[in-house]
């Protein structure tokens, strides 16, 4: 549970970064989705009920900070967590490339989910056409960042585990 709280705290910092500093990057309207990377990592390597709730809350945080209606990102992030968790039973990630592919797929799932929900609940006509390029670019950026972010998270995770054992 403590680890899930830590996961949530890190996630909140990432949400904060996504709403502030990452907008300074020269990527136009696209913001690298570090929260998604964190949720995918947790779904792959530390799937707990606490992590599920943290993913939901992180998605909700993104909604609170930026979505036109609440629940969109919470739903998408929960969906990503579930999809990655279910698929992690049948795949084994052993190199950075495979983690990048999983993140790419997860990001696509999230993008499609968000687009679907927006089309249904926001009555946004032809929303798909405008959303598709962003979904793809966002997924590619997330996939490109995945190996580095996963390596950092893995290192942090092992450090926390060692600290817990020592305590």
């Amino acid at each position: 549970m403590k680890l899930s709280l830590l996961f949530f705290a890190v996630g909140l910092i990432l949400v904060h970064l996504q709403t502030t500093l990452l907008h300074l990057l020269p990527l136009g309207p696209i913001v690298p989705d570090f929260v998604l990377l964190l949720c995918v990592y947790w779904a792959l390597y530390h799937p707990t009920v606490g992590a599920v709730l943290a993913s939901f809350l992180l998605g909700y945080s993104v909604d609170v900070a930026s979505s036109p209606i609440l629940g969109l990102n919470a739903f998408a992030m929960s969906m990503v967590f579930l999809a990655v968790h279910l698929s992690s039973r049948s795949i084994w990630l052993h190199d950075p490339m495979s983690s990048a592919i999983v993140v790419l797929l997860a990001s696509l799932v999230k993008g499609v989910t968000l687009a679907l929900l927006s089309a249904v609940f926001l009555n946004a006509e032809r929303f798909w056409i405008g959303a598709i390029p962003y979904i793809i670019i966002e997924a590619l950026i997330a996939a490109a960042l995945a190996p580095i972010v996963f390596a950092l998270l893995r290192r942090g995770h092992s450090y926390v585990e060692r600290f817990r054992v020592a305590a």
């Binding site: 502030t20 500093l21 709730l53 998605g59 909700y60 609170v64 900070a65 968790h85």
Partner: protein, 286 residues
């Protein structure tokens, strides 16, 4: 049952979250979500970080802006410096043009007093040798400049044309040892020959010991040599020495025209006695 729940707790909790969020989306889209207990807490958690980041980014933004402003000032400063240099060059050019204009106007006025057929020329080169005092003009035989013509300015005599080409002419200055100008002292009308010397001095030769010459006396051309028109200023006496032996006095003078400060000259035909007589009123009456 408990085992099933425990085994699928993640899937079930995920599905619960999905359902909950779907409910929230639906309610929010319909405007039915009146109370949101989680949102304010999350915002409260995010707020300090956002304020801190805003302050830091604002600080960096200010620094960046200041830097940009300073860079702008630097560029502006460079631009103004260049502009000042351009204007300075323009001003110098205009001052130079004005000075040239003034000099040429003086030459024109002076030209009216000289015999017809004079040519305005610019000095384009000075002597290349220490031993000779000469200069080169930009006008030559094709402009009407001929050998033996006088080079003068409103201030006085410069020299004599000793050779010409189609587009240039060489003038032997009166300060050259080989030159000779027939002069007279304006005050006493005593005559002599002005020429240069190897000591880089200009002297008046062949003045009798008995002649009354004083420092400050002005020397003018006689017009009798057929080169220089009569009455042109040649120089001012600076030293008079009567030696114990010899027929003549030693007289030094300062030329009226300083070549280093002269840029344009008038090249004129000298008046011989014959031409003077031809142009005299008596001849005209005849």
């Amino acid at each position: 049952m408990l085992a099933f729940l425990r085994k699928n707790q993640i899937v079930l909790s995920s599905c619960s979250c999905l359902l909950l969020s779907l409910y929230i989306v639906n309610a929010a889209a319909r405007g039915q979500l009146k109370n949101d207990p989680i949102g304010p807490i999350l915002l409260w958690l995010l707020r300090p970080m956002q304020l801190g980041t805003h302050a830091v980014t604002g600080w960096f933004g200010d620094i960046q802006k200041e830097f940009g402003t300073l860079s702008g000032f630097k560029a502006e400063n460079e631009r103004l410096r260049t502009r000042i240099q351009q204007l300075e060059a323009e001003r110098n050019r205009l001052l130079e043009a004005e000075a040239t204009n003034r000099r040429l106007q003086q030459l024109l006025d002076f030209r009216a007093q000289l015999p017809p057929g004079s040519v305005t020329a610019t000095i384009i080169a000075n002597s290349a040798s220490t031993w000779f005092q000469s200069c080169l003009l930009d006008k030559g035989s094709s402009d009407g400049v001929g050998k033996g013509m006088a080079a003068v300015t409103p201030l006085g005599v410069v020299g004599q044309v000793i050779s010409t080409a189609a587009r240039s002419a060489k003038v032997l200055l009166i300060t050259d040892p080989n030159s000779g100008v027939d002069v007279l002292v304006q005050r006493t009308r005593a005559r002599g020959i002005v020429s240069g010397s190897l000591e880089q001095k200009t002297i008046m030769k062949y003045v009798k010991r008995s002649e009354d010459i004083q420092v400050g006396d002005r020397l003018i051309t006689t017009g009798l040599d057929g080169v220089f028109p009569k009455g042109l200023m040649v120089g001012t006496v600076t030293k008079v020495q009567r030696q114990n032996l010899g027929l003549f006095q030693y007289i030094e003078l300062t030329p009226a025209v300083s070549l280093s400060q002269t840029e344009e000259v008038l090249v004129v035909k000298g008046e011989t006695n014959q031409t003077k007589n031809e142009g005299s009123p008596a001849n005209k009456i005849r």
